[in-house]
Structures are given as C-alpha cells and as structure tokens.
Symmetry: C2
Subunit: 648 residues, 2 copies
C-alpha cells in the first residue's frame, strides 16, 4: 500500500485497457519513454470501448511537441517525450471534461529546460523543505523504488524534463556523488527518471578536486585541476546513464569558487563545461554571488547590485554548454522584488530563470501563497522598457528575444522544489498548485495564472470546491504581501528559519538585507544618489525607478527612502498604508477560512482537515505579522492609526 | 602527557616529599579523603627539609573546618574534608607567599552546600558551554580517568563539595542514568569524586517513571508513581556510592512536572524526597518556573513575578531533605537584575542560591566578565530593608538569618559551571577567576571580590601581570554592562545563542522578556500601576523600587518606563546616558587591550596569545553592541548624541 497520493493525476486504473498503436518509430529502438506514454493511456485513459489510440511520430515537429485529434484519436508527436506530454495532456483533458478530451495542439514547449532543483541533503533533510523528508536520500544512501517512479510520473505530467536531486550546498557525502561510492545507485535512479523522459542532474561541489581528489587547489586554469575534472567526468558519464550535467553554486554563502584564485566565474564554469562537453553535458552555473559578510553600517555596498556586478563583465565569455541560472529578483525570493537586471543585461550568454516554489519566504507551505501570478509578472517583464518589444524575460529564456545570442536548446526555467515525502508531496495541499503551475507555465508561458489554477482545481477538487478555492489561490499572493512586508522592502523575517516576522531580525546583521527604518521613514535609496542599483536596469527603467511618482508603487521602498507622512497615490500616508494593508491582510485570511468552512463535507474529510489546520496556522502567523509590523512602526513613528485599531 | 592545565594549583611536584603524620583518626577507617590531603601536602607542599606536618582531628570544630599553625606545622581539622581544604589552603598560601604559609583559621565554611551544576549532555555537548566539550560524557558514555581526578582536585581546592554532572534538561540517554545501564560507570566516577570529598548528584527527569518506567502518569500523589520511585531509588543508592541526591528542573521550559497533575511543586519535591530519605539523599528543586509561551502583546503577565507567584504559597510545605534552588534574580542570569524576592519571602523553606559562572548572557567566556562583584551584591542584599539586620541573602543561605527556619546543613550556593574539556578548563583564561572565585566565595562569603581576584592572580600570574589584570577583572562587569544592556532592562541579546546584540530579538517573542521601547521612552513599569512585581519585595523595598528618585539607578528601567528626555541623577538625559555608557564601554575594552599588550613577554606566550585573541573578539562584540544599541535608540528617538559621535 503506497502511503502517498497521486495529486492531480488519475489514480483509478481502467478495468479494460484501450489499445494503443504506434507508428513511425524505428522498430529496432527500445522506446522506453514511448512505452511510458502508451502505458499511461492504456491504464488511465477513458476511450470508447474497442477504441484504438494512435501515436504517430512526426519528426518535423519541434522537439517535445505534440498535437491530438479527438476524432481519429490520433496523437502526433515530435519524439518520445512529446508522446508522454501528449498522453498526460489527454488524461488531463479527460479528467477536466469528465470523459472525453477535445482536440488540441500543436503544443510546443516554450522552454527547452524545464527543471526542478531539489535542495535535498543526503542525510534525508531538505534545506528549506516544508513537506517532510527527502524521497531521494536517507542516512547517506540513495533511495529508489515506487516513490521515485511516481515522482517522475507526477512531474513529467506537467512537462518537467530535468531534475537536480541534491542540494546546491554540496558538502560531506554529497561531494562523493561523483565517485564510485554512488554510481550504481545513481544509475538505477537515473533509469527510473529516464522512463519519463527526465534527465538527471547533480549539484556539484566546486572544490571536489580538493575535497575528494586530494589536490591542493581548485584554480580553474590549473592543469592539474583541469585534468582531474576531465578524468572524473569521463568516469561519471560512463557510469551514470541519462546524466544531463551539473548545477554549481560557487563563490556563494561560503561555497568555494573561482574567485578564490582571482579567476572569473566564466573561468570556473568553462573549465567544468570543457570536461563534460564530450558527453553532451551541461553546466548550470548559479549567479547567486554576493558578499554575505557585509557590515550593516555600510550604506554604499548593496547586495541587490551584486549579481549584476559580478557577472555582467563576463557576458559572452561562457562556453556554449554553460547556462547561467539567475534568480527572478536581485535579492532572494522575497514576496516582491524587481526583476533581476541580468536578464536584460546579458546579451551573449545562455540563461535560465530560477524561481522558488518552496515557499521559503512566502509562507513555508503553511500560508497559502499561489506563486504563479508572481512568476507571470517576472516572465512578462520588459527588460528594456515598458513599451519595448521582444525583450520580456519569457522571450529571453525561450531564446526568442531580440538582440540576445543564445545557444539553441540551452535556456529555460528552473524552480527550487517544494516537494518532500509527505503523503501529499508538498505539505500543504494547496501548495500542489505551485508545483503543478510551475510545470505548466514552464511549458507554456502564455497560460494565465487563472487558467492554470482552474485546470489544477478542476482535476483535483472540481465543482463547489473549485469555485471556493479559485479566488483564494488567485488573491493569496496579494494577501500574503499585505500582512507581511510592505512595498517591496523585503526581509523583516525571523533570521535562520525565515518564517514569521522579525522586523529588525536582519537589520543589524551581515546579510546585506536592510530596511533602514528610523523615526521618520523607511526604505533604501537605490537611485544614483544612493546605491546606484536602479541604473543596472538601463536608462528607461532607471528613469522610472528613480522617480518616486513613476516607480511602481509596490516597489517604492525597494528604491526609495520614504517618510511615514508622505502620501501614496491612494492619498494615504505611508504609515496609514502600512497599518491598513496589515489589517486587511488578516481580514482576508479570516474571510478565506470562512469560505473554506463551506467545503466541510464537500472536500474529502482528510483534505479538508489538512487545509483547515494550515489555515489556522496561517491566521496565527498573519496576526503576528500584522501586530509586530504595526507595533514596530507605531512605536518608531509615534503616529497613531487613523481608525484607532489595536496596535500594541 | 596530559593535554590540560592545572590552573592555579601547583603542578610541579617536590623532588623530596615531606612527612605527614595524622592524629586522632580512627585507625580502623580507610580515610581515603584524608589520604588525598596528605598526598597533596607530600607531593606539592614546600616545607623545611626533614619537616613533619601534623594533621590532627578535632571533632569539636564545625564540619569541614580547619586551622593551621605555621610554627608547629599543625593542621587541626574537623573531619577529613577539613583536611583536604586545609591542605589546599596551605598550598595556596605557599604559592602566594613564595614558600611559607602563615598561620590561619579556624576557617569555617559559610555554606553547607557548595555546588557546581554542570549542564553537560550525554552526547558530549554542554548546554551554554563555552569551554569545549564535556569531560564527563561522550557519545552516550560516561568518562572517567585522569581528567576527572584532576577536575575533582581543581574544584575541591576551592572548597566545592558537591557536583551535578548532567544537564538539568534531562532527556534521552540521561534519563537512563538512574538505571543499570550506567550504575557501574557512575559508581567509578563517584569513587573518583569522593577521593576529594565531593558528593555526586544527578539531574533527574521528573517524568522518568513514564519515560523509562512505563507508567502512564507522573502524578506525585499516585501510589504507583510513589512506589516506582521508592523502588528505583533503593536500587540507585545501593548501586552508586557517595550519591548525594538529585537536582530537578520541573514544570519549566517544556520539562514535565507536578503542575501537569494539578499538584503543587511541594507535592512533586516531597514525593521524591520521601523516596531518597532513607539513604540520606537530598532533593534540590529548581524554582525556575515561568510561562515560556507568553504573548508579547500581554502587558499584565510578568515573567519576573513567576518564581515568587509559583512558590510563595508552598512555603513550609517542603520536606526537610528538600532544598529550593533559586536563581539570583527573577529573570535569568542577566548582567543586572534585582535579587529574587523569594529569598526574603520564603521563611520556612530550605534554600540554595543559584548563580551562573557559565557566561551565558555575560560574554560567553569571550568577553572578560569577572562575576564575583555581582555575586557579592546578591549575597550582601538585605531582603527586608536596606537598613535591616540578619536578612542578607548570604545569611539566609548560610542558615544564619533571623526569622528563617532552615534544616541544619540543608542550604548553600550552586553555580552553573563554566568548565569544559578545553586545556585551560574554562575557554577563557580569565574566566578561571570565576570558577576560582565562586568556590572561595561559597566557602567564605566575607571575602571581597578584590581579595579573591588578588589571590587568584597571585597564584597564577603574579607580579606585573597581577597588577595589570587586577583592575581589568574588577571593572570588567561594569564595562560589560556599559556596552550592553542599560539600567537593568535586560535581554536585547541574539535569540537562541545569547551572544551579541539584538535589541528587538526577544521583544516580540514568547519568553516574557520585553523592553517596550517606543519613540518616547523605554522600560517596564513593575510598580503597582504596572505588573506589581515590586510589591513582591515587601513594603520597604516596594517603596524604594516604586519611587523613581529612590530606585537604584542601575535598575531604573527594570522597574520603570522612562522617557529618553528624562534626567538621571547625573543630570544627563536617559538617551545621552545610553550613548555615553556605550561609547565608554568600548573605550574601556580598548584601554584594557592596551594594558594587556604590556604583558607580552611577561605572560607565557601561549597564555598571552589566548587572552589577546579573546580580547580582539570582545572588542568586536563591544563595538557591535555599542553601534546597534545606539543606532536602535537614535533611530527610534531621533535625538542626536550631544557630542556628535558616529551613530548609524
């Protein structure tokens, strides 16, 4: 008996399997991925009695794409992966429409890489994991079996085609993943993933040549280092099938990297890229490089600048099998940030967008926070200017932007996973919407947040539950933002855990994350008069961000120091805006709880109980945020709430 | 080769041992403790060639006391322990005076119990330990051997006669210390301690009858519970020689206790006391009981009140082999607190004072903080009224106070240990002064902080080093207070670690530790108009504490909310006092470093290096405190420093 669930997927098998016939595939091939597609259709598809579904190869279609004709039951596919995605598309439509799938397609993925980054440690813990323990690792060992297979099925069903299974902070046992200690187990795991067309990636310890190789340095230009990696990569790729490559966090938060040897990030990435080139391997290199030993007294250094400052000078220097992975914002997955200026800035570099569906700063899968609206904003952001064309983040990572030179197939989008070994995979049932939505959005960036939420709900909790939960999901990010951190200033979270409020928690610390509140006002001046960060966005956006009247108001405190008595566009003072939004945020959570109560007896009892239990915790958290933030600013400013509500 | 040092003790053995003769002891006894005394004199004493030292029993002397006549080399002792303390006294005087000890005594210990509480865990870690790992435990096992013997020697040399070896938070393996899993090892350890006249105590898990006994409750009036403990204690005392009894932390910070069963603390303590009575055992019951799930919004509940509120009603209810162990202040070992009102309040209860030489909140053995001045203030505190007699804490715990009924021999003083397996035992070399000083003060509460510091330095670093270090030690507590938390308000430390500043770190948390700062002022009103805590001190002190003009100024913010613009007795405003003391504190640390630099080449190089390394860290810490506290209050108040110094 499996102790985990199948989420949005159909889990009742057919009594009578349908027939599936395949045409156009090389009869001498093994077609393991194609078999997965036919099996899914046979076991879970709902077709007329005695019907035969036809899967036809059309290699003129773009990679991974597919189309379906419901009259002839014909699924035309570009390749085996296209067959898997097409099959799951049919199952999805059948579930949504209660039986029959309409015709669709051709469906062509927007992003070549659609990736999950798991931050799983080999002891079984998950860094920033809120859904139980790892299903990949336990006590230093690699797990395999039904759970991994169901994992692959679940994520392939929404189009994921690559996964990194271990934490980007690679230490201890994990450094040894590229050694014969783990080849056999990794090979088995990789085979399981490959059934669903998913390539295995590993996070790499940049200093592995020292830690396990016995070298005395990791200088990327050192011949000994270069040859160690070459030999090691040969061995690794010979022993692990279906290996896509490596994700590297270097020179970041204490991790070693090329800066130690006065080399550029490109030197480091290219050295590894050269070692994996022969095997078709890809090096994904993270841009999360900043000074995490900052002095809080220093108002010139700005962490927001760090990614751009560290990488812009290397544009064009990277090998064609290197991809830079860039977080959506310049800080770190806050509920509101500007879009990283690197997307617009790098013109000759392969890029991947990194988002986080693990809700590290956005409620930790206790608070409801449907993140697709945030991701849509990022994807739709015009990097040159609001009215420019062919310059959105979506276009850049899909290699369709103007003026960007990208290696074909070497770009995409990755999400830090929100999964663990909890029965429902994501801890919160509603957090499944972020996993589902990320995959769907990565495949088709034109989908709206509402379309995705509707699709998700219609499959899993249709009817009345869908009606009730849809508006809750769609407003949840705004609600969360209201009761937490105002106007883009970020942080104000409890250090270390990152859950719950601590307004000054990072204010006098070394992480470069300050709000600079005093008795008169709050916010960071990032204009040229301040840290100069705004200029990284180019002239059009600089002009907008630097002008308090033009700056998107939700980012006002990210770019400007504002007085509590200054008026916002609503006519409210800043302080009154803070008070009002915090009271509103809590009210909205209370209203959501009320709505969900109407689903008692409608949702399965277990699901209802799990959701309500988290709603209670969200409400507690929202009240803590409201009262701590309001009290903090009231105690600091001395300005009372116009409505005389309770502030402590 | 031992990898640890002997601190203040003589460690060069004599080439020629002196003769020691004993008189008056029962010749049929084994006299193991007496042998320790004679061995110490033989191996380390410096006497004229061919001299014979005489140890004479005089059982009319009070227990543990001794006197020495230097003319006849006669040490008169009350008992074997007296011989040990007398021998170490001779060695101390010989070391201080460069050879010969003067006559002294009779020396009679003021406190029957002179105890160390080790917070050592069985995995080898030490809760709030700043001097390495445990020398009692490692990986769930009990250690024994030379280090334990040298430990016993070290602490017996300053008069310690009882030690609790395991953490008061008893969990996991430590619950099983009272089971046959550990009897043999504990027995050996206890034998080692007993050589130096030290009784072994263990911390007890109040719920052991459930956790290892399989009972379904721990109700102290339940016959099953009572009989489980009776049987278990019989077994324990039969198997562990020299066992003095148990220390219990119940109903505190998540630990189980009698409150769970609607019983009083006395019900719990007495049940255990009854079980150990037959074996001469003592139950030491901690009064650290408070609500650690407080709502920061709640200004009526006051953690400072909790000890008194929880225990005062049970005065007179405790068995005569129970001692209540009471922390010096009502909060938790802050750099400045009032004295706990329980000392004056409990009239018919055996009491022990608990102090902490582990510098949890006082610099963690990085910052120099000689705590004897603080302990002297506590001991000298008049519990009834400033001008009363026979009412000091020292008199109360020595069973010499008026109007207090105490069981003879059932009182004293305990310190949370600052020791670990570092070579110098206390991490910081200067922190040895707290270990040394605690023992000396517990034995003789009339000694001054300066006398003790002089004694310590004269033995370990005499001459120029003594001259330089003495004023540093004596002013260190005041210096630490200056750069950390102003005027008794407490806390403002980093949560969890308790090292370094975080002004709001505990302000919106559940621990009952608030400063309530806003843009106008700071402090907690503990008068009758506020939480009413002051009244727990009785009418005379209530009047003093409630009057801002009479209240000891160093406790002003503990008892009152004060405006930043209010004037202190110095004529300075509160805010200017905060700024000035914080700048002064850092200057004093800088001056101390300068002084210590003059000891380069005078102190042994290793010691000098260790001291300077910690001084550097103290200076860093002091600057963080100065800048964070000053910036916090400047940003909140908007009031600039009159002297225009740098505030961020």
């Amino acid at each position: 008996m499996k102790n985990w669930e199948q989420c949005w997927l159909p889990d009742e098998e057919n009594r009578e399997e349908c027939a599936v016939r395949c045409e156009g595939f090389d009869p001498s091939g093994s077609h393991r991925v194609l078999s997965t597609a036919t099996e899914e259709l046979k076991r879970y598809g709902r077709f007329p009695k005695d019907a035969e579904v036809l899967i036809v190869l059309d290699d003129k279609l773009p990679p991974e794409s597919y189309a379906y004709d419901s009259g002839t039951l014909k699924l035309t596919v570009a390749d085996e992966r296209g067959a898997v995605y097409g099959a799951f598309h049919i199952l999805r439509e059948q579930k949504i429409h209660g039986g029959t799938s309409p015709s669709f397609g051709p469906c062509i993925p927007d992003n070549p890489f659609r990736m999950l980054n798991h931050w799983d440690n080999m002891d079984g813990s998950i860094e920033r994991g809120y859904a139980g323990l790892s299903f990949f690792f336990k006590d230093g060992r690699i797990l395999n079996g039904d759970r991994i297979r169901d994992y692959a099925r679940l994520v392939a069903s929404v189009g994921i085609n690559a996964v990194v299974i271990n934490n980007v902070n690679v230490k201890g046992d994990a450094t040894w993943l590229i050694s014969d200690r783990y080849y056999r187990d990794l090979s088995e795991l990789s085979n399981t993933l490959s059934l669903y067309g998913i390539r295995l990636f590993l996070s790499l310890n940049y200093a592995a040549c020292m830690d396990i190789g016995g070298l005395d340095n990791a200088d990327p230009l050192d011949p000994g280092v270069i040859s160690w990696w070459k030999e090691r990569m040969k061995e690794v790729f010979e022993n692990i099938p279906n290996l896509g490559g490596f994700l590297v966090k270097a020179d970041s938060e204490g991790r070693p990297g090329p800066f130690t040897y006065q080399r550029t990030q490109a030197d480091g990435a290219n050295m590894l890229a050269e070692a994996v080139r022969e095997y078709g391997g890809t090096i994904i290199w993270r841009c999360f490089v900043y000074n995490c030993m900052q002095d809080w007294r220093d108002r010139k250094t700005d962490r927001a600048r760090a990614g751009y400052d560290n990488f812009i000078g290397t544009d064009g220097d990277y090998a064609d099998n290197v991809i830079l992975q860039i977080k959506n914002g310049p800080m770190d997955f806050q509920i509101r940030e500007p879009v990283s200026p690197l997307f617009g800035g790098l013109k000759k570099t392969n890029m991947m967008l990194e988002v986080q569906i693990a809700q590290e700063y956005t409620g930790q899968q206790i608070d409801v926070c449907y993140l697709i609206p945030l991701f849509k904003e990022v994807l739709g952001y015009h990097t040159e200017a609001p009215d420019a064309e062919g310059d959105t983040v979506a276009e850049i990572i899909a290699a369709k932007a103007k003026g960007h030179r990208v290696t074909p197939g070497m770009s995409g989008i990755a999400a830090v996973s929100n999964m663990g070994d909890d029965p429902n995979w994501t801890g919160s049932d509603l957090a499944q919407a972020n996993l589902y939505g990320f995959g769907r959005l990565a495949f088709d960036t034109s989908l709206s947040a509402e379309q995705i939420a509707r699709e998700f709900l219609a499959q899993i909790w249709p009817g009345k539950a869908e009606e009730v939960l849809l508006p809750i999901l769609l407003t949840s990010r705004a609600t969360y933002e209201k009761y937490t951190v105002p106007l883009g200033i970020g942080w104000m979270v409890r250090p270390a855990t990152h859950y719950g409020p601590s307004v000054d928690g990072y204010e006098y610390d070394r992480w470069g994350t300050y709000h600079r509140a005093d008795h008169l006002g709050v916010g960071v001046d990032r204009t040229d008069a301040g840290t100069g960060y705004a200029a990284q966005h180019g002239p059009a956006w600089k002009k907008i961000y630097e002008d308090t009247d033009a700056c998107p108001e939700e980012l006002l405190l990210f770019f400007h120091r504002v007085l509590y008595t200054d008026r916002l566009r609503s006519g409210k003072t800043l302080i009154q805006h803070i008070y009002d939004t915090h009271f509103e945020g809590v009210s909205e959570v209370e209203a959501n709880m009320e709505s969900i109560r109407s689903l008692e007896g409608i949702l399965p009892e277990k699901i209802y109980g799990r959701i309500m239990e988290r709603m209670e915790r969200q409400l507690y958290n929202a009240k803590e945020w409201r009262d701590q933030v309001n009290s903090y600013f009231f105690r600091k400013s001395g300005i009372p709430d116009e409505q005389g509500r309770m502030i402590y």
